[in-house]
């Protein structure tokens, strides 16, 4: 093999170029990643299902295409880890829940289909908090995922399997979903890159719904350019999703190559600083703001008072939508059924199946949502939360009238210990403090690594937020910061992950 270096430590862009140039085959690249998974996933547990056969078949298809002289796409032959919330025809999809144990979907999600069409090699399905509800991946029915930086810590959530697979060099690309921060917070705590595209930018068809007005699939990678290449592959209008935006996808790849913030106006959100933020997180964040200034951006402080109430509003809106969405798990057409003894009626069987199939966080949120939507409480809870959502959108509109992007820490602390917040839902919910406003407003957000916190040596993320359909600005800013920091450090931060 004439590829220079470790295939599993390479970027997606470099792998695609090497495959295209004939320096390495897609089969060799895929096998290297399957070997890596076999070697380290026992310790990390990023994957719920590894599709060895499907991955090698796809790789062989790519190699055959190349042999025939066919044009290969920009990610052809590159392996990817897919969050287990997207349906995959013929490959199990569990959403981290016992409710869907053994379910083999009869159809592909649009994201899955586009990945296949782009000749991306899907290695398998990654672990997640059950139905994407959580910030630590501890709510999976199939066991916890460990953060490769420190195996005693959480990899973030809900997409902890996807983020951990990247940091463990099991895959150069992954797909996540972000309802309140489930792409960005895992990226932050694993020193990787994660993007929540504009709501409606990536199709939700075949993405098992949690909170439909907030859910958004998006790319995860180890570099900003890799995330952009993946973003371009999965984004764009889909007639199968009624909330899909019928506009051209912003030029995210071009922006990632630009890596220039000169002349940009960048807002620092006043509300996301101070008490409750770990010292090392604040330190790295303020250094990032100084860096952006040095790189030629103008820094402005921005006041968004409604953001203080985004968290409580989210924990009414998301559970309300979840209580409705998860009503589909009625044990009749697919999924777990228990108690069907010929005596129990349909309602008993449904209640027994849901009791057996759902874990504690899912039950908690279904009941919370049912309460918030019940007559007598609707106005005070769900109604007020929807009004807060209006106020959040107004604060963003006001901010973006003055600045091009906003920045903040992605999450208030570095990765916490497994078990540390498991019995305290309110403490767990704080992990999404800074990421939730973007979901509420439907705009775009990114997390990039900006260093390690001095006190614990764990990664810190910088969040960048751009207006809806201006996703390219995330990549412009993200790539500029990434290039400057790589220059300063001499190599990407991700290479500091301890060997497993």
């Amino acid at each position: 093999m004439s590829f220079d270096g470790d295939l599993t430590r390479s970027t997606a862009a470099a792998l695609a170029a090497a495959i295209k140039g004939g320096d390495v085959t897609a089969a060799e690249v895929t096998q290297a990643h399957l070997d890596r998974i076999a070697k380290v996933d026992e310790k990390v547990h990023a994957f719920l299902h590894v599709d060895t056969e499907g991955a090698l078949a796809k790789a062989a298809e790519v190699d055959a295409k190349r042999a025939r002289g066919e044009q290969l796409g920009p990610l052809a032959g590159v392996p990817l880890a897919l969050k287990d919330v997207f349906t995959t025809k013929g490959v199990p999809t569990t959403c981290g829940s016992k409710m869907l144990q053994g379910w083999v979907p009869p159809y592909d999600a649009t994201v899955t289909r586009r990945l296949r069409e782009a000749d991306v090699v899907i290695l398998g399905k990654t672990n997640m908090d059950e139905f994407a509800m959580g910030s630590s991946t501890e709510n999976s029915a199939y066991g916890v995922t460990h953060n490769p930086w420190d195996l005693s810590r959480i990899p973030g959530g809900s997409g902890g399997g996807s983020s951990a697979s990247l940091a463990a060099f099991e895959a150069p690309l992954a797909i996540g979903t972000d309802t309140g921060g489930s792409i960005r917070q895992p990226a932050s705590v694993t020193g990787t890159v994660g993007v929540k595209p504009t709501y409606g930018g990536v199709s939700r068809y075949g993405l098992v719904a949690f909170s439909s007005s907030l859910d958004q699939g998006g790319p995860c990678a180890r570099t900003v350019l890799d995330a952009a290449l993946l973003h371009a592959a999965i984004a764009g209008h889909d007639p199968m999703d009624s909330t899909s935006i019928d506009l051209p996808v912003p030029d995210v790849v071009g922006a990632a190559k630009l890596a220039d913030v000169k002349g940009m106006r960048i807002g620092v959100v006043k509300q996301f600083d101070g008490d409750g933020y770990q010292d090392g997180v604040r330190q790295r964040f303020h250094e990032s703001v100084d860096l952006l200034r040095e790189l030629g951006a103008t820094i402005v402080e921005v006041d968004c008072p409604s953001f203080d109430y985004a968290l409580p509003a989210y924990y009414l809106i998301a559970p309300s939508e979840c209580s409705s969405n998860l009503a589909r798990f009625d044990a009749m057409r697919y999924g777990l059924r228990v108690g069907d003894d010929g005596v129990n009626g349909v309602e008993e069987v449904t209640s027994l199946s849901r009791e057996a199939g759902f874990g504690p966080e899912v039950k908690r949120r279904i009941m919370l949502g049912t309460y918030a939507l019940s007559s007598g409480y609707y106005d005070a809870y769900y109604g007020s939360a929807q009004q807060v959502r209006t106020l959040i959108m107004r604060d963003f509109d006001r901010a973006f009238a003055d600045v091009d992007v906003l920045v903040s820490p992605t999450t208030p602390t570095t990765a916490f210990k497994i078990g540390e917040r498991a019995d305290d839902p309110m403490a767990m919910y704080l992990a999404d403090l800074c990421t939730i406003p973007s979901n509420m407003a439907g705009n775009a957000g990114m997390s990039i690594p900006v260093g390690l916190a001095p006190e614990d040596g764990l990664p810190v993320g910088l969040q960048i937020i751009a207006p809806a359909m201006a996703d390219d600005r995330l990549y412009r800013v993200g790539s500029a910061v990434e290039a400057a920091l790589n220059g300063k450090w001499g190599r990407p931060l991700i290479q500091e992950v301890p060997s497993l």
Binding site: G200, S213, P305, G342, Q387
Partner: protein
């Protein structure tokens, strides 16, 4: 505001179609009380930040329009594929538990 009772949680469990155990009822009553106590701040927020104005609710970040397509036949899922995932099937249909009462 809240102080949610165990009886109310039992009612929520019924509405949610969750056959909770006695232990779970007690546990969730405690937790939901804490969570509701915390999220109740949203109504204050509207009063404070709205400055007495009438704030319209937002259910969705995008203006939603219904999506239609021409009424032409399209391929759909194969019934055998779909029923292969059913908990129980019979005569190309989903078999469900009894839906009517005994009497």
């Amino acid at each position: 505001m809240p102080a949610i009772t165990r009886e109310e949680v039992a009612h929520l469990a019924l509405l949610s179609r969750l056959d909770l155990s006695e232990d779970e009822l007690a546990h969730y009553a405690e937790q939901l009380d804490v969570i509701l106590g915390s999220v109740a701040r949203v109504s204050q927020a509207v009063q404070q930040l709205g400055q007495g104005q009438d704030i319209p609710p937002t259910s969705h970040a995008l203006p939603l329009v219904n999506v239609t397509r021409p009424d032409v036949e399209q391929p759909c899922l194969d019934p055998a594929d779909v029923l292969s995932q059913a908990p129980a099937a019979q005569d190309q249909r989903f078999r469900v538990p009894r839906i009517l009462g005994e009497d």
